[in-house]
Amino acid sequence: MTTAQLRSEPMLTTPTRVLARTQETADTFTIEVEPPPGFSFRPGEFTMLYVYGVGEVPISISGDPDRTDTLTLTIRAVGKVTEAVGRLQPGDPLGVRGPYGVGWPMEAARGRDVVIVGGGIGLAPLRSAIYEILNHRADYGLVSIAVGFRRPEEILYVDQVHEWRQRFDIDLELTVDTAGDTWRGPVGVVTRLIPMLDFSDTAVAMVCGPEIMMMFTARALRDRGFAPDNIHVSLERNMKCGIGLCGHCQYGQHFVCMAGPVKPFSQAERLFGIREL
C-alpha cells in the first residue's frame, strides 16, 4: 500500500450538480447527475450522495452503464437526506462518492437465460442490468422480466416499462397488488408471475425488492429448478460510509457495502431467516 493511498481521505465527496429531475411517482423521483471525472459503474453498484450541510445517503444507480455523460439515480423521499435530494433542481450542487459494492453478476449471466424480478423501487438497480442486457442483447439468452408494484400509480419508469413490454426480444410481465376498475393487467404479488417465465436450468436470476418479496421469489424460482447459487438478491442495511469503515451495514458476517449489496440466495437465505439480524 502506498503512502498516497493511505493519506487520501476516503470519505471525501466530489462536488457535482444535478442535470435533470423527473418525478416518477408521488414519493419517488429520478435525477440525472453530472458524473464526477472518470466515473464508471457496473449494474447494481451504488453511490453515496451528499447534500450540502444535510448529509449523505446510499443510492443505487438506475441508469445505463454505457452512458458516461450522465449518472442516473432513482430515489424515494423517506428521510431527511432523500427529501433534501428531492428538493434539488437542475443546476443545484450535490456531492457524489463511489461507485461502491458488488453489483449484478452480468459476466456470469453471459450466454445464459436471465430472469429479472423487481418489486417497487427494487426495479431501480435492476434497470441498469436491463440496460446492459439490451445494449448487448446478443450476449444473453432468453430474458424474462417480472415487475410488481403496489398500485398502478406506483409503477416506476412507466413509459419505459410499457415500451419494454412491446419488445419481441424480451418478455416483461407486470402486476400490481391492488388496482381500480380501469386496470387491465394482472393483480397480485409479483411471485405469482414466476410460473409464467421461460428459462433453462442454467439461467441466472436477479431479484430486488423488499426482503420478504425477495425470499418468496427466490424460493419460487428454486421450486422451478433454479440452483440457489444462480439466484441473486440485493441486501439492504443502514450505510454510513460505503467503504467498510462504519460497521452499520453488517448483515451477519457480511458488510453489505463491500461484499454486497448483491449476494447469491445460497448465502442470503440463512440471513433472511433470522429475525432482526
Binding site: M1, Q5, L6, R7, S8, E9, P10, M11, L12, T13, T14, P15, R17, Y50, Y52, G53, V54, G55, E56, R76, V78, G79, G91, P93, G95, E236, R237, N238, K240, C241, I243, G244, L245, C246, G247, H248, Q250, G252, Q253, F255, M258, I274, R275, E276, L277
Partner: protein, 373 residues
Amino acid sequence: MEAASVLERRNFNGLLDALTARGYRPIGPVLEAGRIVYGPIQRDSDLPIGKTDIHDGGMYRIADRPDDALFGYNLPSDSWKQYLFPPHSRLWTATKSNGSFTVAAEEIDPPRYALLGVRACELAAIRVQDTVFTGAFPDRQYNAVRDDVLIVGVNCGQAGGTCFCTSMGTGPQLTDGYDLVLTELLDGDHRFLVRSGTATGADILRELPLTPATPADCAEAEALIEHVSGHMGRMLDTDGIKDLLYDNAEHERWDDVATRCLACANCTMVCPTCFCVTTEDRPTLDGATAERWRTWDSCFSLGFSHIHGGPIRTSVKARYRQWMTHKLATWIDQFGTSGCVGCGRCITWCPVGIDITHEVAAIRTEEAVHAHR
C-alpha cells in the same frame, strides 16, 4: 529476541526523557477521579505508583498495593483507541463557492505518541484495529497516527478479575509488535527487565544506563508471566465458537440476556476493538461552510440499524446478539481474527455485570443439553 537488560527504577525518568527528546508525547496510566485512565505522562510521579485496580462483573475499585509498583494495576477503563481513533473527529469541510461547493480534507498533523504501558491484550487490540483500518479503503486519520506511534509494552505482573487473554491467545506476554517491552520486577531491587523489538527501541535503550540482565532476572520475569497465565479471572472456551454462535442465533439465552442488558453501550465504548462510527454533516451557523464529522457509535443504539421503514434491530436481544456475535464470530469471517482480545473491560464496565464469557458458556452448555436429547 533481543538480549534483555535491566533498568533500575531510579533511572525510569531517563526513559521518559529519551522519549520526549525524540519528539514523542508519552501517554500512559494516570489515576483520575477514582480510576486509572490513559493520559499524558511527564514524570514517573504521574504514574499510579503503589496503586492497583480490582475488577469483577460490573465492579471496579482502586486499592493500595504493599509496594511502589509503577505498573501494578491491571487495565485502565479506557483504551488506546482514544488516541489512535479519537471518539470525535472532523473528516472534511465543504465551502460554498459559485453556486456549488468545494471540499477539503481535514489537515492532519497528529502528535507522535509514545504509548507507555501497553499490555499484551491491548497490543493485540491495536493490531485488530490495524486490520480494520488498512483494508480496501485505508483510514487516513487512523493510519496517520498509527504510523508514528511508539509502543512501550509492559508485561502484566498480575491478572485482573475479568481478564481472559490466555483464552483468546493474546497474552499475558508481549511477544512482538512493540518497540520496547518492560517487565516490572519487584523482588529485591525495584527494577525493569527491558528488551527492544525495533531499531528505534534499540536506539532508545542505548541512551539509558542499563546493566545486563542476569539469569535470575530473566527467571523472575518468566515466573511472573507463568503466574499471571495461571490466574486469569475469567475463561472463555473458543473451540468452534464461530459455528456455535452461527448455529445458535435463535437460542433462548439471547432472550435471557435481553432482560438484563440496558443497551447502554458501555461495553462497546470501552472495547478496544469496537470501531463503529456514525457520520454527522452539519452546516456552520452562517451556512458558508459545512462539516463532516465522525463519532463513535454503538450497535446498541436503536438508530444504528435504521433503514427507511425504521430500525431493523428493535429488540435489545437482537442488539446484544449483534454485538457478541460480531466480537466472537462474524469478525473471524470479516478480518481473519477474533474481535475479542479478552481484556475483560466489557465485563467490568457493564453496569449490570453482563459477562461475555458467561453468555458463551450458557449457550454452549445449553446447546450440549439440546444435542444430547
